[in-house]
């Protein structure tokens, strides 16, 4: 049996090396197909992982209360795009009565210019209270966060993300205790948060955000309206309990479809299902090239069979059964297509390696197994007809073939 396969393999490989150009072009079809499928899958996986990381950065016991029905994205950037109700301090006070919520944080989001002596930057400002730091899992690298009293008195204190601090002052440390101007008001930089990374994909980095007491933003937010509330429960298992309570409390004032109460996993699931569907379609389109590659293999295998009719006849005369011939050509087709598959996979690894700095794509074990399995499968499916043709040749016609 060992002999059987090594002989078949040898004749197959030998045939390929005699027809290098043909072999290369035939496998190229599969190579391109596998490459595109693997790359698109890798992008999809990378994107999913990236989004998950962004969400997990906020912790899992987080509840978000937003106007409207849409739970798809955080409060960032949504302030102006979502209409409907806006919450106010009355809601904040009533929500504070919820027992199992350890933190409740209001958000007033505003994009504005922030001026340092030498530079001005357009930033996303989050007007909130002192609990914003534990709720968003932000730790302070230099200086300190604003205190509860700072928030309540609306003191002009500001905490910068490390990214924006660097842009304004050259480095995070240097920005500490400096003054910046937000609108017409002077603020003192009292802290810089620890870098969290993220951003990329065209989204602003969380490191570029600034945090200030919402009460200090009277010039922008006179009536103290909020875009959203974030609540953190004391334990994961209380999430549903707290959600129900939020719904009950806000339900007294608003219609139930005027606001929504969601948690991290809801948003994550929504986002994942959207990207999942999109990726599925893309991978499906890429899979068409695999089909085309398979047809190429079938074509070349038909050529190989008709070139080797005499050899088939010799093998039959020496005792090869129909199934031996079938297996022989099937093996050749599988080798041809899995060569394309393996090289496609290797190229995908190379591409992913080089773009990793720009995009968090990655190839998982399932993709590797799929690439090898699918490319061998294509060899079998598209190789079986030419191989059958070879096996069904009558020995006498084959050996007399000139």
């Amino acid at each position: 049996m060992k002999n059987y396969f090594s002989f078949t393999l040898k004749t197959a490989l030998d045939d390929f090396s005699h027809n290098k150009g043909r072999t290369f072009l035939t496998s190229l079809g599969i190579l391109i197909g596998v490459l595109s499928v693997i790359l698109l899958t890798a992008f999809g996986l990378g994107l999913k992982k990236y989004i998950k990381q962004q969400f997990e950065g906020l912790g899992t016991n987080l509840i978000m209360v937003m106007p409207g029905k849409g739970i798809s994205g955080g409060p960032r950037g949504m302030a102006s795009s979502v209409g409907g109700i806006s919450f106010d301090e009355r809601d904040l006070i009533s929500l504070k009565r919820i027992k199992n919520a350890s933190y409740i944080v209001p958000f007033f989001i505003k994009f504005a210019n922030i001026k340092a002596p030498k530079k001005t930057e357009y930033v996303e400002m989050a007007g909130s209270n002192a609990d914003v730091f534990p709720v968003l899992n932000l730790s302070i690298e230099y200086g300190q966060a604003f205190k509860k009293s700072d928030a309540e008195q609306g003191r002009k204190k500001i905490v910068l993300g490390p990214g924006i601090a660097k842009k304004l002052f050259g480095s995070a440390q240097e920005s500490l205790y400096q003054d910046v101007k937000v609108g017409e008001q002077n603020y003192q930089v009292i802290g810089i948060t620890k870098a969290k990374g993220g951003g990329g994909l065209g989204a602003p980095s969380i490191d570029d955000h600034v945090y200030l007491p919402y009460k200090s933003l009277a010039s922008y937010n006179d009536s103290k309206k909020f875009f959203a509330f974030y609540l953190k429960t004391d334990e994961d298992k209380n999430i549903q309990l707290v959600k129900d309570e939020v719904t009950k409390i806000l339900g007294r004032r608003y219609k139930t479809d005027e606001f929504s109460v969601g948690e991290q996993t809801d948003i994550l699931n929504t986002v994942n299902s959207i990207f999942g569907a999109l990726n599925f379609v893309l991978v499906g389109i890429a899979a068409i090239s695999l089909l085309v590659g398979g047809i190429g293999i079938m074509n070349i295998m038909y050529v190989a069979v008709s070139e080797r009719i005499r050899e088939i006849g010799i093998r039959r005369a020496l005792g090869a059964r129909k199934n031996d011939i079938l297996l022989h050509f099937l093996m050749e087709a599988v080798i041809l297509s899995s060569m394309g598959g393996i090289f496609g996979l290797l190229m995908a690894f190379v591409v992913v390696f080089f773009i990793q700095n720009l995009f968090p794509a990655y190839i998982d074990l399932v993709s590797v197994l799929m690439a090898i399995g699918v490319s061998s499968g294509i060899g079998i499916i598209f190789g079986v007809f030419p191989a059958k043709k070879a096996a069904d040749l009558s020995p006498i016609d084959a050996i007399r073939y000139e």
Binding site: N3, A317, L318, G319, R321, P395, I399
Partner: protein
């Protein structure tokens, strides 16, 4: 050992044109026989050889090998019988160009279903030594002379230790000296109790065999 009873072979060239390649052939070949089937080209001798070699089936009549009617065998069984019972030697040598000498000789063994009571690699080496081609063990057929190729083909025909060796014009592509060497080789093999049937158009070749079967226009004469 081998019996052909009233064997006929017809080809339907067109709807109503029937070519009778063989008509009512009766041949018996004994164990250890050294026979030739002789006739001019077109006489049906090749068709006859293909029938004896189990590459083709007769239109009528019976071929009996060791008491078994081969028309009752299916394709796989015929393949096995070709593998174990018959060794082929062709005019065109019919070596596989992609395999070297050693591999060509071992090729029938690749398709063997039965367990051999000898080591085929060792047997191949023995045959190569005997036929003076051992130094060509790793050479490919296109680098060999005609005589060397035919020796490889004979070694291949013998690797499964067949009871019957069928040689179709074994000297047809060789010069007379080399041809004579090949014939001497076959003669020697026959002395070792291997049944040999040579198909030829050449009287001189047929002359070395003990039993001469002459065929003309598809009939024995």
């Amino acid at each position: 050992m081998l019996l052909l009873q009233n064997v006929s072979k017809e080809y339907h060239l067109d709807e109503d044109i029937v070519f009778k390649a063989l008509q009512n052939i009766n041949i018996e070949i004994e164990e250890g026989e050294f026979a030739s089937i002789m006739g001019p080209s077109g006489s049906g001798k090749s068709t006859l050889m293909h029938l004896i070699g189990l590459l083709d089936k007769p239109s009528r009549g019976k071929i009996v090998i060791e008491g078994k009617d081969v028309s009752l065998l299916n394709d796989d069984q015929l393949s096995t019988l070709r593998n174990e019972f018959v060794g082929f030697i062709f005019q065109q040598f019919n070596l596989v160009n992609k395999l070297n000498v050693m591999e060509n000789i071992l090729l029938p063994f690749v398709y063997a279903r039965k367990k051999l009571d000898y080591n085929p690699e060792k047997h191949a080496v023995y045959l190569m030594e005997r036929f003076g081609i051992i130094n060509k063990k790793n050479t490919y057929p296109n680098k060999l002379s005609g005589g060397q190729q035919q020796r490889v083909a004979i070694a291949r025909a013998l690797i499964m230790k067949p009871r019957l060796v069928l040689a179709d014009e074994p000297t047809g592509n060789l010069d007379s000296k080399t041809g004579q060497e090949i014939l001497n080789l076959l003669k020697e093999l026959n002395k070792e109790k291997i049944t040999i049937v040579i198909v030829t158009h050449d009287k001189n070749v047929a002359a070395i065999t003990r039993k001469q079967i002459k065929i003309y226009d598809g009939k024995l004469v």
